[in-house]
Amino acid sequence: MPISIDFIVTTALNGLVQGVVLVLVAAGLSLVFGLMRVVNFAHGSFFMIGAYAGALIAPTAGYFLAMLAALVVGGILGVVVEYLMIRPLYGKEPVVQILATFGIALMIRESIKWIYGTGSLSMSTPSYLRGPVSVAGISYSLYSLFLLFVGIVVIVALDYVLQSTDVGSIIRGASRDPGMIRMLGIDINHYWTGLFAVGSALAALAGMLVSPIQPITPTMDFSMLLLAFVVVIFGGMGSYRGSVVAGLVLGQVMAFTTIFWAPGSNVIALVVLAVALLVQPEGLLGEPEVLE
């Protein structure tokens, strides 16, 4: 099959779109682990909740209000889950956290199945974002470009907050050494709920963004969670920038794998994870002591 430049460029764009979605979901997972040392198996549920919120709200309220609603619903649900169910788990053994958050994920999934059924929902792409656009002779989906734009803005904004604000300094500091932050007289507990809400809202936003082009099903939580964990471990647990790099790299690896070995496009993420764990267990930009 002759491979054109257009083909390479669009494949790279596909990988970028997938990478950005992975980063949006993995960012919350990584930060929550970094700050709170909680392995959150319920994180994929927020991605699913965002998709359902978008699909249910968009037909009446419009696309952008649905986006806002997904953020708010994801954030509020994050606060509720953190306050009622995650808070008692701080400092507990990881296995307790994993079992408890897995239970939360199952509760959310079964609730969705109970209310909306086991089948898939759909959400229409808004008419003004439909169809392909041509840039420099290369045709590409307008909606995917829009998703890319929103995703990159959010990723850059979050990086700015983490790197250049006081709140960001505290979060990064607490991620590295929570004891030291406490000694400085800062009550990091106040930041936990807020950070959990932001992570949940970002995952919900990602779910809402993909819902016009991907199936909205009660099983979309774990399939995304698996990939998000790969990104977090590959990037270095607790490192936001690590997750950004890992997500974008994984997106490209998955996109180009499809060309050369289509059946492997689903398993390549696990291959990446295995190689990453063997070569650099602390991840691309992670701190070795986090693993301990």
């Binding site: 759909s122 959400m123 792409t125 995917s144 979309m220």
Partner: protein, 433 residues
């Protein structure tokens, strides 16, 4: 006549016929089905001595109630339950039907485990309604033969009428080859469709079968097979596969998927603008999947179907309205297949006068019937169900008059065009009873 009026009229007539016990042969031969024409209330076995006393009959199947085929599995279950309810309430049959279902999550080993337990412990007399995928269906087929329990399969893989056929397995839905032969004439007969064909194919038995049949049809008819790519089961992002299709620059793109994957592939194909450069054909697109496709996208799609609810063949309207009244949505083609299948099984049991597996299987072989889509026949040689095939065109938002108004019927391809010759692969050895 407006469609609504038509539906109401036929439903009224149909429900009187069905619930007054006028379940009878069309032509006095075997394979009787409910009709609104007959009034003698008799069947072959029933006209002189009444229906056979079948006692209690257990039916059921493992189903993919979770996963990408969840909507289809639900439809299948509802259709069998509707048929069972009608049959239990009718004077035509003397039987109490007990149904049992369990989620196999599309896992072949789990599916076999469930089916075995249903046969040995729950005592089901036939497997009807599932399993939901080709791989689970292929796993259950040998069990049906071992246990001598009829398996009336909804699965499409050609292996079920080929190398994996057996005396107790009956392929009631159109096979993969039939889906390909049913939809290919659309692209062959219409000059606007162009000559280069390409396929994105579900990477399992059924998808491979449809794709390879389309490839040979293309080559035998002077078309160019521009290639194909296989997408893994459960793919959520088809952009890279669609990208490869675009790179091959075809005139016709076949999207060979089922269930949620089908909806996702279609939505993304149109979203990426492929419909502007090529005709997009999905050889098997059920409305259970179409509900997850936006009307803006579906209007650019051609689809093959075993059956579609907006047709007036046989008892289609009675069934469609009875299903809609019961479930609140119109039935998919799979629901129709399983509805007619349940009736054919009961007809076979009634003729045999028994729910014994071998007796029913012998009666199913060669059964001819006319119920939802013209003349059909379960042929003796390979247990393939000869039948026609629908070609549909998706409707846009402005064309829709009611919620499940997804398609308009483009044409019905006759069984003679769709059905391959008996044991066409040459690999089917049914074995003994």
């Amino acid at each position: 006549m407006r469609r609504r009026e038509y539906l109401q009229r036929t439903t009224a007539a149909g429900s009187i016929a069905v619930f007054a016990g006028c379940l009878t042969d069309d032509d006095g031969s075997d394979g009787s089905t409910p009709t609104e024409d007959d009034s003698d209330g008799g069947t072959d076995s029933g006209s002189t001595s009444g229906p056979s006393d079948l006692g209690t009959m257990g039916l059921g199947a493992p189903l993919g109630l979770t996963g990408p085929y969840a909507s289809e599995a639900e439809d299948s279950r509802e259709a069998v339950e509707l048929a069972a309810e009608e049959i239990s309430n009718s004077d035509e049959f003397d039987v109490d039907i007990e149904l049992t279902w369990e989620d196999d999550e599309l896992d072949p080993s789990k599916s076999v485990q469930i089916a075995r337990r249903m046969i040995r412990e729950d005592g089901i007399d036939a497997i009807v309604g599932g399993p939901s995928s080709s791989s689970t269906g292929l796993a259950v087929a040998p069990l049906a033969a071992d246990e001598k329990v009829p398996f009336l399969s909804p699965n499409g893989t050609d292996k079920l009428n080929g190398e994996d056929c057996n005396r107790y397995t009956f392929q009631m839905a159109a096979s993969a080859t039939m889906s390909a032969r049913g939809t290919a004439p659309l692209a062959l007969d219409n000059e606007d469709f162009g000559d280069r064909w390409y396929a994105i194919t579900a990477d399992y038995a059924w998808g491979h079968d449809v794709s390879s049949e389309l490839e040979s049809i293309a080559e035998n008819n002077g078309k160019t097979w521009a290639g194909s790519v296989r997408s893994p089961f459960g793919t959520t992002d088809f952009s890279n596969f669609l990208n490869q299709a675009q790179n091959a620059d075809p005139d016709v793109l076949f999207l060979i998927h089922y269930g949620t994957d089908n909806a996702t592939a279609i939505e993304q194909a149109v979203s990426n603008g492929l419909h502007e450069d090529m005709e997009i054909v999905s050889p098997l697109a059920l409305i259970s999947a179409s509900r997850a496709i936006s009307p803006e996208s579906l209007q650019h799609i051609w689809a093959g179907n075993n059956w579609y609810h907006a047709n007036d063949m046989g008892q289609s309207q009675q069934f469609a309205e009875a299903f809609n009244d019961r479930v609140g949505r119109y039935p998919s083609d799979l629901a129709a297949t399983m509805y007619k299948t349940t009736y054919q099984l009961l007809e076979a049991a009634d003729r045999a006068g028994s729910t014994d597996g071998e007796a029913m299987a012998r009666e199913l072989e060669g059964a001819e019937y006319n119920m939802l889509k013209g003349d059909e026949r379960i042929r003796e040689e390979d247990h393939l169900n000869e039948q026609g095939y629908y070609v549909l065109r998706g409707k846009g938002p402005e064309q829709r008059e009611y919620e499940d108004d997804h398609f308009e019927v483009h044409n019905f391809v006759e069984p003679s065009q769709v059905t391959p010759e008996a044991n066409y692969g040459g690999a089917c050895d049914l074995g003994s009873f």
